[in-house]
C-alpha cells in the first residue's frame, strides 16, 4: 500500500466502524468528522444546491463556508467538516434547503 497520512503521523486508530451514506455502508475511523470519513471513502459531494441542483461538499474545511452541509441522523444543515461521525450514523445527501419536512 502506498504511504498515506496515517503512516506519516504513525496513527494506530481505534477500530474502524461503519456508517451509512445514502444507504451505502462507509467505513470511518474513530475521531473523524463526517467530511473526513467521506473523503477517505472517495466521496467529495454530499449536498445539492438549492437553485441549480449542483453537487457540493467540503470547501473551507474549517466551518466557515457552509458548503459541506449534510443531513446527519435526520437533522439537515449540519456542517460535515465539524460534526464527528459515529458508528451507525445515517448520513444523507442534503437537497436544497434540507427542510423537506416543512414543505
Amino acid at each position: 500500500m502506498r504511504r498515506g497520512p496515517l503512516d506519516l503521523v504513525r496513527a494506530r486508530p481505534e477500530t474502524p466502524f461503519e456508517f451509512s451514506f445514502d444507504g451505502e455502508p462507509v467505513t470511518a475511523l474513530p475521531g473523524q468528522t463526517v467530511a473526513a470519513a467521506l473523503w477517505q471513502a472517495g466521496h467529495l459531494a454530499w449536498r445539492r444546491t438549492r437553485l441549480g441542483d449542483r453537487p457540493r461538499g467540503a470547501f473551507c474545511g474549517m466551518g466557515a463556508c457552509y458548503d459541506c452541509l449534510v443531513e446527519l441522523d435526520g437533522t439537515p444543515n449540519v456542517r460535515a467538516c465539524l460534526a464527528p461521525v459515529r458508528p451507525g450514523a445515517l448520513v444523507r445527501t442534503q437537497r436544497g434547503d434540507g427542510h423537506g419536512e416543512l414543505r
Binding site: R50, N77, D97, H99, G100, L102, R103
Partner: protein, 375 residues
C-alpha cells in the same frame, strides 16, 4: 430639481418628477439605497394603519405599487401580493381586532375575518390556540433595495435624471445646493428625501423638522421552504407602531421571502443612532416568532440587521413645501412605512410641485405643523 437622498423616497420622487418631464439631480452622500432603505423590510401594509390620512396615503400607495409591479415586472421588485394575516391571542384581542378591521373597511381596506378553526388553512404552521384573525388581501411586499434601485434606473432611463452618489449636501438656500463633490448646483426646487437625516438637511436651509431615529432590528433565518405564506403578526403590533414611547416595543411581523429566508421584524426603540447589538431585543423578536410559528424554534438565525427609521413626533410623514421656503419640499419622516408609502408620497410631491389638484388633502402632512419651538 434636486432630490436629496437616493433611498426609496428619493427614488420614487425622482421617477415621478422625471415622468412629468422635469430634469432631476439625485444626490446621496453614500451609495444608492445605503440609508434606511437598505436596512429595513419591504412590507407594504394597510393592515397596521387605523383610519386617517396615513391609511388614505397607504391605500393609494398600494394601488401604485401594483401598477409599478405590472410595469417593471414583479421580479424586478420581488413584488409579492401575498396579503397579511393579523392574529389575536385571546377573545378580547380578537374582538378589538374585529372592531378595528370594520373601521378600516370604511377607508377602502378589504378585510376578511378568519375564525380560529380557519387559520390553519391560511397558515398551516401557525401555532394552535389562537383566538382568530383578520386577513388583509391588499398587504404586499417588495424587496426595498431592489425596488428603489429599479425605480431609480427607470428614472435614469428617461435621460432626465442624474444620480450623483458619494455627494454630501453641505449647504442649502433658494436656488442653490452646495455639495462637497460637485460644487454648487443651481435648481428651481429641492426635495428633501434624506430620511432619518432630513432634519439636518432642513437645518441647512434654516428650517426645523424634528426627525428622530427609531431603531429597529430584523432577524433573518436560514433558507426555508414556504413555511410562512402571509405577513403574519399578532394584533398588539398596531399598538407598538403608534406608540410614542422611547422604550422598546416589539411585535414580530413574520414573513417568508421568495429567496427562502424568513424575516422577523422589527423592534422599535428610540436610542439615538446607537448601533450596538441588543441581544435581549433580538431574543424578544425570536420568542414572538416562535410563539406564532413553533417550527421556527429549530431553525437557525443567520443574520440580524438594524436600521434607523425616520420618526416624527406624530408618526406622520412630512410631505409638502416648507411654509417659509416654498422652494423646499419635504418628503421624509415615514418611520416604519417609507417603502409602502413611497409611490403615493412621490405622487403628492409631484402634484404639489406642478400646482395640480392633489389626490388627497396634504394638510395633515404639512411640514409646518411642528412649529419652531419643538426642535
Amino acid at each position: 430639481m434636486v432630490v436629496i437622498g437616493a433611498g426609496m423616497i428619493g427614488a420614487a420622487c425622482a421617477d415621478a418628477l422625471a415622468r412629468r418631464g422635469m430634469r432631476v439631480a439625485v444626490l446621496d452622500r453614500g451609495p444608492v439605497v445605503g440609508g434606511t432603505t437598505g436596512a429595513g423590510e419591504g412590507n407594504l401594509l394597510v393592515s397596521d394603519k387605523g383610519p386617517g390620512p396615513e391609511l388614505e396615503l397607504a391605500v393609494e400607495s398600494l394601488r401604485l405599487w401594483r401598477e409599478l409591479a405590472e410595469d417593471l415586472g414583479p421580479r424586478a421588485l420581488e413584488y409579492e401580493p401575498k396579503g397579511g394575516l393579523v392574529v389575536a391571542r385571546d377573545r378580547q384581542a380578537f374582538t378589538e381586532l374585529q372592531a378595528s378591521a370594520r373601521l378600516q373597511c370604511l377607508s377602502g381596506v378589504t378585510t376578511v375575518e378568519v375564525p380560529a378553526d380557519a387559520l390553519g388553512e391560511l397558515e398551516p404552521h401557525l401555532a394552535p390556540g389562537l383566538a382568530g384573525g383578520v386577513h388583509y388581501p391588499q398587504d404586499a411586499q417588495v424587496q426595498p433595495a431592489l425596488a428603489a434601485a429599479a425605480l431609480l434606473r427607470r428614472a435614469r432611463d428617461t435621460g432626465r435624471v442624474h444620480l450623483l452618489a458619494a455627494t454630501t449636501v453641505t449647504g442649502l438656500s433658494e436656488g442653490r445646493v452646495e455639495t462637497d463633490a460637485h460644487g454648487t448646483l443651481l435648481c428651481a426646487s429641492v426635495v428633501n428625501a434624506a430620511g432619518t437625516w432630513s432634519g439636518e438637511i432642513a437645518a441647512l436651509a434654516g428650517a426645523t423638522l424634528p426627525v428622530l431615529p427609531r431603531r429597529g432590528f430584523v432577524l433573518v433565518t436560514e433558507p426555508l421552504p414556504p413555511l410562512v405564506r402571509h405577513k403574519v403578526y399578532a394584533a398588539d403590533y398596531v399598538a407598538d407602531v403608534a406608540s410614542g414611547s422611547a422604550d422598546l416595543q416589539s411585535s414580530a411581523v413574520v414573513e417568508g421571502t421568495a429567496a427562502g429566508p424568513v424575516l422577523i421584524g422589527a423592534s422599535r426603540e428610540r436610542v439615538g443612532f446607537d448601533r450596538g447589538l441588543s441581544v435581549p431585543v433580538l431574543a424578544r423578536l425570536a420568542a414572538q416568532a416562535a410563539e406564532l410559528f413553533p417550527a421556527l424554534r429549530e431553525v437557525r438565525v443567520l443574520r440580524a440587521y438594524r436600521g434607523f427609521r425616520p420618526y416624527l413626533p406624530d408618526h406622520l410623514p412630512a410631505i409638502g413645501p416648507d411654509p417659509e421656503r416654498p422652494w423646499l419640499f419635504q418628503a421624509c419622516g415615514h418611520e416604519g412605512a417609507g417603502i409602502g408609502l413611497a409611490p403615493a408620497t412621490a405622487r403628492l410631491v409631484a402634484q404639489l410641485l406642478d400646482g395640480e389638484q392633489p389626490f388627497m388633502d396634504p394638510a395633515p402632512f404639512g411640514p409646518g405643523r411642528f412649529g419652531k419651538e419643538q426642535a
